[in-house]
């Protein structure tokens, strides 16, 4: 969703400010030369000094926005996990005497029209939003990686055909298909993340395919092939581990996209059903009652926005850290 143009500032290249100072000298001599230049292209860096992962982590730590994003996310996720223990009220407990009250000391974020504590509902909503975000991303990850591997490894006409299909699918109104799936298979949360994951794999497939295409002709893969490794083993043991960087980066950027789509569906009443609440359905209820009770739209909206912002910060930072070649900053 928030991917910047891949070509952004490529001319900063390997000699730009983000070029890794710790490349060539640290690569152990038995590692094929072709693996140099890719930050994660070194299967097992046995040399002294920092590993590529360590290096990436250091770069990530220097990016304040990314660290801030990560901190916010961790807080939210942690709060979502322990919600049943820290929530001040049961999430579906109505109390009409305290209906639609603005934030107070008892109800820190106020209550909705049925007197349910908004803070509690946002906490429980976070559970749903994060669960959908993570699970749907896993679904999209598995489809995208498999598809990309097959296309990239097969190459030739099959690859051409498979990528043409992806091109065409790109242009279609995907949320409409998700809505069809939700209408047909019922509006429950399991269907929700399968449906969302099932339409979010296109970019992942492209990225993986590109990686496989360039990695499969490297010497270390060819030598594994020469000693008789099966295609599956080749992909799983030798190719994919070296493509982890871009895959992780894109997966991080898929999470906010999916969370947004879940909220979108729930807002329309096609996602999570009451009495369960996600941030999208809370925003929807809030929007319906916002004139007299503006806090009902403000707080769920803010939770969603801050989370998406943090995920974008973190995802961008991770990309800059793992793949300095496509760094955006100058």
């Amino acid at each position: 969703m928030s991917r910047r143009a891949p070509s952004a500032g490529t001319h900063c290249g390997p000699n730009g400010p983000h070029a890794m100072g710790a490349q060539a000298p640290e690569v152990a001599p038995d590692i094929p030369q072709s693996a140099i230049g890719h930050p994660l292209g070194v299967p097992h860096s046995r040399g002294s000094g920092a590993s590529p992962w360590h290096d990436a982590f250091r770069r990530l730590r220097r990016n304040r926005l990314a660290v801030l994003g990560l901190a916010v996310l961790l807080t939210f996720v942690l709060a979502a996990i322990v919600a049943p223990w820290i929530a001040p009220f049961p999430f579906d407990k109505t109390d009409l005497r305290h209906g639609a009250k603005p934030p107070s000391r008892l109800h820190v974020l106020g209550t909705d029209e049925l007197g349910r504590d908004l803070f509690t509902r946002i906490l429980y909503g976070a559970r749903i939003s994060f669960a959908v975000g993570i699970l749907a991303t896993l679904v999209s990850l598995s489809i995208g990686v498999t598809y990309g591997c097959v296309a990239g490894y097969a190459g030739g006409r099959l690859d051409h055909l498979m990528m043409r299909i992806v091109d065409i699918l790109y242009g279609l109104p995907f949320m409409f298909f998700v809505i069809i799936l939700m209408v047909i298979f019922g509006r429950n949360i399991l269907n929700l993340f399968v449906a969302l994951g099932a339409v979010q794999w296109l970019t992942m497939a492209r990225i993986v395919r590109g990686q496989v295409l360039s990695l499969k002709v490297r010497e270390f893969v060819l030598s594994a092939q020469a000693v008789g490794a099966s295609p599956l083993r080749l992909l799983v043991r030798h190719v994919l581990p070296n493509a982890v960087g871009p895959i992780v980066v894109y997966a991080t950027l898929t999470v906010p996209a999916v969370m947004l789509e879940e909220a979108f569906l729930s807002f329309l009443g096609l996602g999570v059903q009451p009495p369960m609440a996600s941030w999208g359905s809370l925003a929807s209820e809030g929007a319906a009652a916002m004139e007299p009770y503006p806090w009902l739209i403000l707080f769920p909206g803010m939770s969603l926005t801050v989370t998406l912002l943090s995920l974008n910060f973190f995802g961008d930072g991770l990309r800059d850290a793992l793949d300095p070649q496509i760094s955006f900053r100058h």
């Binding site: 242009g171 109104p173 409409f176 069809i180 329309l268 739209i297 926005t305 912002l309």
Partner: protein
């Protein structure tokens, strides 16, 4: 070029066939029909309704019938509005949705393009930081949060603009901004990146060296190169604008296709939902073709074959 267009058009047919077939069977697989919620109809009435919509015939005949109708451009009767056909409903809603979508794209391109060019030209200036932070914010605020908040601010509290509805240009402002904000932010980022890439190239230095005014350098020489990523983004963006307009139409009570679609989905109005998907798919396939041709026209390095 003509050969390319023809080949792309030929490609549409199998794609549409797959879309129609897939959605048709998915719809029919669904447990429960569109007339279930009207509790326990008399047997005869039910049979009559089913006969009217050919629901009593074998599935494969319904399928062939539907294919034939779609091929003739007829999307069938609406299940929900018995005296209306889907074509009529789309005919009512589409001009509205199209107006909204175009206004949103106009907001996105003008606002985003301008911000991106200026930010790219004054890299690392306060203006650049401000615009890019704002863009990041714009990307992260969902339209269904932005919409109600804008409505609250400008319609309910300040009373500058109408709350909801359709009719005058004043009704268009809030929905267009709501729908276009995300794309404005995205376009700003793309344009800025494109600008940064182009501005240091030799032909720009040449243009400056021969004494052109800065405006001419920027608009005549740099901009065409800088907007290429934006053009590529137009295809997916228009698909997303159509999708987004579903939610914006719901928020602002705008009588467009999106609202028919949502109510159709909530009421299992199969023909309506199916019809909308088919219609929008055709539209987007055509639009993507136009974008690709435009791209080849703007970038001489791209050869369509």
């Amino acid at each position: 070029m003509l050969g390319y267009i023809f080949r792309r058009l030929a490609e549409f047919l199998p794609v549409l066939f797959v879309i129609v077939s897939l959605s048709f069977f998915l719809m029919r697989l669904a447990p429960g029909g569109p007339f279930d919620q009207e509790r326990a109809l008399p047997e005869q009435v039910r049979a009559n309704i089913e006969a009217r919509y050919h629901l009593n015939e074998p599935l494969w005949r319904q399928y062939l019938q539907y294919l034939g109708e779609v091929a003739r451009g007829d999307l069938g009767p609406s299940f929900r509005y018995p005296d209306r056909s889907v074509n009529e409903l789309l005919g009512l809603g589409f001009p509205v949705s199209l107006t909204l979508g175009l206004c949103a794209l106009a907001v996105a391109l003008s606002l985003g393009g301008m911000a991106g060019v200026l930010a790219g030209l004054r890299r690392n200036s306060p203006f650049d930081y401000f615009t890019m932070s704002f863009a990041l914010f714009g990307i992260s605020v969902p339209n269904f949060v932005l919409g109600p908040i804008l409505m609250l601010l400008f319609a309910l509290w300040l009373r500058w603009l109408p709350v909801a509805g359709w009719g005058t240009w004043r009704h268009l402002v809030l929905p267009s901004v709501t729908l276009g904000m995300f794309y404005a932010a995205y376009v700003a980022r793309l344009t800025r990146a494109g600008m940064l890439e182009v501005i240091h190239q030799d032909f720009i230095r040449t243009a400056r060296a021969k004494g052109l005014r800065e405006a001419a350098v920027v608009f005549r020489h740099a901009l065409p190169g800088a907007v290429l990523p934006v053009v590529t983004y137009l295809g997916p963006a228009s698909a997303a604008v159509l999708t987004g307009s579903v939610v914006v139409e719901t928020i602002f009570s705008i009588p467009g296709v999106g609202r028919y679609f949502v109510s159709g989905a909530l009421n299992r109005d199969y023909t309506m939902v199916l019809g909308t998907v088919v219609f929008y798919s055709v539209l987007l396939l055509a639009f993507n073709l136009v974008v690709d041709i435009l791209y080849a026209y703007l970038d001489p390095r791209v050869q369509v074959r």
